[in-house]
C-alpha cells in the first residue's frame, strides 16, 4: 500500500436552512455553532455562512423543528466519489464515529442510574390518585427498559401506601415514615427525596403535576441539577434508553418532545387523569426499603398552621382540577335555563357542572352583557384547559355540550 497517499475522509457536508420550517425558537442553532457561522435575521431565522462550517451537525441536532439539514457541496461530492473509490480499493476507513472523552464520561455516569420511580403523593395519609396512574405508565417504561418499578412513600404513618403501591404495579417501595413529614413542606420533602435519589440512583422519576407535586419536583430537580419536564402527555423510551417526554407548549398550539440527555434522573410531571389507571390487584406484593428521616424538625423553617378542606366551604370553593367528571356547557346551549339539564346529568354522574362561555383567539366575544353566564375569570380558564385535556374520548371523564373543541387552545 502506498504510504504517501493521503487518506481521504468522508465529507460531512455543510448546514443549510430548509425554507419554511424555522419557528424562530430564539436562536438555538446560533448558540450551538462552535464556529460562530450562524447569525439570526430580523425574523429570528438563521443565516448560515458555510465558509466556516465544519459540518459538525450540532445545529441540526439542536433544532427543535428539523429546519436545518446537512448537504454536500459540489466539491464535497467530488471528494465523496474519491472516498468511495478508496473504500472500494480496500483502504481502511474509519466508519464509526468515536465518542469524545467527555461524552464517554457522561455515558458512564448515567449508566449508574437504574429503575423507574414514582412519587406517591399523600395528604394526611390520603393518596392523590395521580400517583397510581403514574404506576401504570411507569410499568410500561420499566418493562421496556427491563428495570424495577419503585415508589417513594414519604409521610407520617403512611406505611399502608407501600402495599397499595404494590397492588398498583410497583415491586419495591422506599419508605420514610416520620412525624417531621406530617404536613408537606417543600424543604423537608425535597431533602428526603434527594437523599433517596442520591443513594439509590433511579434513571426516571415521575411526579404528579398537582400543586404539591410541581412544588416538590421543581425543588428536587434544581437541587440535583437535572432535567425536569412539566405536564407530559406522552412518555416513551427511545433506542438509546432515553426517556422521550412529549408535552404541549404555547398553550397547546404545538407539541414538543423533550429529553434529558446528560443528567439523571430524568424527571417528568404528569397531570391527573392524563394516564389511564392501572388495574389494582391485591394479590401483588413487593419489598419495602425503610430509611430514616434525613432531616430534623428544628431545621425546617416553614410551619403549616392550618389545612382547610375546601369541600366544607361551599360549592364555589370546589376545585376544578380535583373533579372526577366534568360536565361543561358552551355557547351552543343557547340559554342559561338549559344548564338545568346539564346539572341533572352532572348530579347523576357524580360530577360537577360549570357554565361558561369561551373566548378563543378573540373570535367569540364574551357574551356576559347579554345575560350569558360569563366566566372569564381564572376558574373558567382552568375549566377550559381541563376540557381540552379531557375532551379526548379515551378519558371518559368529560362531557361537553354545545362546546366547540375543533381547535385546541
Amino acid at each position: 500500500m502506498d504510504e504517501n497517499k493521503k487518506k481521504i475522509k468522508k465529507p460531512r457536508g455543510v448546514a443549510r436552512l430548509i425554507s419554511g420550517k424555522c419557528i424562530a425558537c430564539g436562536g438555538r442553532c446560533e448558540t450551538s455553532c462552535p464556529k460562530d457561522c450562524i447569525t439570526m435575521d430580523d425574523n429570528g431565522e438563521p443565516i448560515i455562512d458555510i465558509k466556516d462550517c465544519i459540518g459538525c451537525g450540532k445545529c441540526v441536532k439542536i433544532c427543535p423543528s428539523e429546519a436545518i439539514e446537512m448537504y454536500l457541496t459540489p466539491e464535497e461530492l467530488e471528494i465523496l466519489k474519491q472516498w468511495e473509490a478508496q473504500k472500494a480499493a480496500g483502504s481502511k476507513v474509519e466508519e464509526a464515529e468515536e465518542l469524545t472523552e467527555e461524552e464517554a464520561a457522561i455515558l458512564a455516569k448515567i449508566r449508574e442510574y437504574k429503575g423507574v420511580w414514582v412519587f406517591v403523593e399523600q395528604t394526611g395519609g390520603e393518596v392523590a390518585t395521580v400517583s397510581w396512574e403514574l404506576l401504570g405508565i411507569g410499568s410500561d417504561l420499566a418493562k421496556t427498559l427491563g428495570v424495577e418499578l419503585c415508589t417513594v412513600v414519604i409521610g407520617d404513618k403512611v406505611e399502608h401506601l407501600c402495599n397499595e403501591s404494590f397492588y398498583h404495579g410497583a415491586s419495591k417501595a422506599y419508605l420514610i415514615d416520620d412525624p417531621v413529614f406530617h404536613n408537606y413542606r417543600t424543604e423537608s420533602y425535597y431533602k428526603a427525596v434527594c437523599y433517596l435519589v442520591k443513594k439509590y440512583k433511579p434513571e426516571i422519576m415521575l411526579v404528579g403535576a398537582t400543586g404539591l407535586g410541581r412544588d416538590l419536583a421543581g425543588a428536587v430537580a434544581t437541587d440535583l441539577l437535572t432535567g425536569l419536564t412539566a405536564d407530559c402527555t406522552g412518555l416513551a423510551i427511545d433506542d438509546k434508553r432515553f426517556l422521550l417526554q412529549t408535552r404541549p407548549a404555547f398553550g397547546g398550539n404545538i407539541m414538543a418532545t423533550i429529553m434529558t440527555e446528560r443528567t439523571r434522573p430524568q424527571m417528568s410531571t404528569v397531570r391527573p387523569h392524563v394516564m389511564p389507571m392501572p388495574v389494582r390487584d391485591a394479590a401483588r406484593s413487593g419489598e419495602v426499603i425503610r430509611e430514616s428521616a434525613p432531616v430534623k424538625e428544628d431545621d425546617i423553617l416553614a410551619k403549616v398552621l392550618e389545612v382547610i378542606d375546601d369541600s366544607k366551604q361551599g360549592a364555589d370553593a370546589i376545585d376544578v382540577a380535583a373533579a372526577e367528571v366534568i360536565v361543561a356547557g358552551g355557547r351552543g346551549m343557547l340559554s342559561e335555563e338549559n344548564f338545568g339539564i346539564l346539572q341533572e346529568l352532572a348530579d347523576a354522574l357524580g360530577g360537577c357542572c360549570w357554565l361558561f362561555t369561551c373566548r378563543r383567539g378573540g373570535r367569540i366575544p364574551s357574551l356576559g352583557a347579554s345575560g350569558w353566564p360569563d366566566r372569564q375569570d381564572g376558574k373558567a380558564k382552568d375549566i377550559h384547559r381541563l376540557c381540552n385535556l379531557w375532551s379526548d374520548p379515551a378519558s371518559g371523564r368529560y362531557a361537553g355540550f354545545g362546546c366547540n373543541h375543533r381547535d385546541k387552545s
Partner: protein, 270 residues
C-alpha cells in the same frame, strides 16, 4: 428592604395560530405581553412598597425587546428594572433560567436585604411552574408556591404568613424571611399605570445586566447549562370524533343514537 418581582415577556398564546398546510406556527403579528400570572406577583411587591416602603425591583431575563415590558413595570411604580439579556443566556431551560435569575437576586441582596421574591405561578407559554422553585432552591429561600393570600408580614420578627391554594384544600403556612412566593391570580387585582407615571417611566432607564456584569460560566447558563433538550416540535394531531345523527333536524333520533352508544360503552346503564 427589597421586594423582587420576576416577570416574563411572553407571546400572547391565545393569538397564536398554526398554518393549516405546513403545520408550523404563524408568528407574524403575535403580540408580546407580560405573562398574565406575573402581574399579580408585581402587584404584591408594590403593595409592600405602599405599606412598608420596600424598594421594588423588577427583573426579567429575555431578549433586548423585553425592555418595553420592564418599562411598563416601572410605570406601575417599581423603583428599578433589571433586564438580564445576553446571547449566552439564550436557549435556556428552567434550570439554566433559574441560575441567572437567582444570581441576579443574590447580586441585589448585596445592595440591600431582600425580604421576598414574587413570581407568577407559571408562564402561559411554557406552563412549567418550575422557575420559581428553581430560584428558591438555588438561593436557599423558603418556597411558598400557589399563594392566594398574604395574611401577615411581621417585619420585627421577620416572618411571613400566607395561605396556599392547592387541589381541594388551602394551607396556612408561616415561615421566616426571605421567602420566594409564587402567586395565583386570585390573590389581587393588579393596578393600572397612571398617565404621569407612564410619562416618567418613558425616560427612566432599564438596567441591562449582560454576562460581562453577571460573569457566569457558560457551562451553567443558556443552552449549555440546560439539562433538557428539545428533540422535536410538531403540531398536535387533531382527534376528531364521530358525528351521530342529525341533531338539528331530528333531535330525538340523535338522542337515542347517543344513548345507545353510551350504553354500549358502559358509561350509563338503565
Amino acid at each position: 428592604m427589597i421586594a423582587v418581582a420576576c416577570i416574563k415577556q411572553v407571546p400572547d398564546t391565545t393569538q397564536v395560530k398554526t398554518d393549516p398546510v405546513t403545520g408550523t406556527l404563524i408568528r407574524e403579528g403575535v403580540p408580546f405581553i407580560v405573562n398574565p400570572f406575573d402581574s399579580p406577583a408585581l402587584e404584591e411587591a408594590l403593595k409592600l412598597k405602599d405599606e412598608y416602603g420596600f424598594r421594588v425591583v423588577v427583573i426579567s431575563m429575555g431578549p433586548p425587546n423585553t425592555e418595553v415590558t420592564l418599562k411598563k413595570a416601572l410605570a406601575l411604580g417599581a423603583d428599578d428594572a433589571v433586564l438580564l439579556s445576553d446571547r449566552v443566556f439564550g436557549g435556556a431551560d428552567t434550570l439554566a433560567t433559574s441560575k441567572v435569575l437567582a444570581e441576579a437576586i443574590s447580586k441585589l441582596s448585596q445592595e440591600d436585604e431582600v425580604a421576598a421574591v414574587f413570581c407568577g405561578r407559571q408562564s402561559i407559554d411554557g406552563d412549567t411552574a418550575q422557575v420559581g422553585s428553581g430560584i428558591a432552591t438555588r438561593l436557599g429561600y423558603t418556597q411558598l408556591t400557589l399563594v392566594d393570600q398574604i395574611q401577615e408580614l411581621d417585619l420585627a420578627a421577620k416572618k411571613i404568613r400566607v395561605r396556599r391554594k392547592l387541589e381541594g384544600r388551602h394551607e396556612v403556612v408561616e415561615t421566616p424571611l426571605p421567602a420566594l412566593i409564587t402567586v395565583v391570580r386570585e390573590i389581587n387585582q393588579p393596578r393600572y399605570p397612571t398617565v404621569p407615571m407612564r410619562l416618567i417611566s418613558g425616560d427612566s432607564e432599564v438596567k441591562l445586566w449582560d454576562n460581562s456584569i453577571m460573569g457566569l460560566p457558560t457551562a451553567l447558563i443558556g443552552l449549555e447549562g440546560s439539562a433538557t433538550q428539545v428533540r422535536k416540535i410538531f403540531s398536535p394531531e387533531g382527534t376528531k370524533g364521530e358525528i351521530l345523527g342529525d341533531g338539528e333536524n331530528n333531535p330525538d333520533e340523535a338522542a337515542s343514537l347517543l344513548i345507545e352508544v353510551l350504553l354500549q360503552k358502559d358509561i350509563i346503564s338503565i
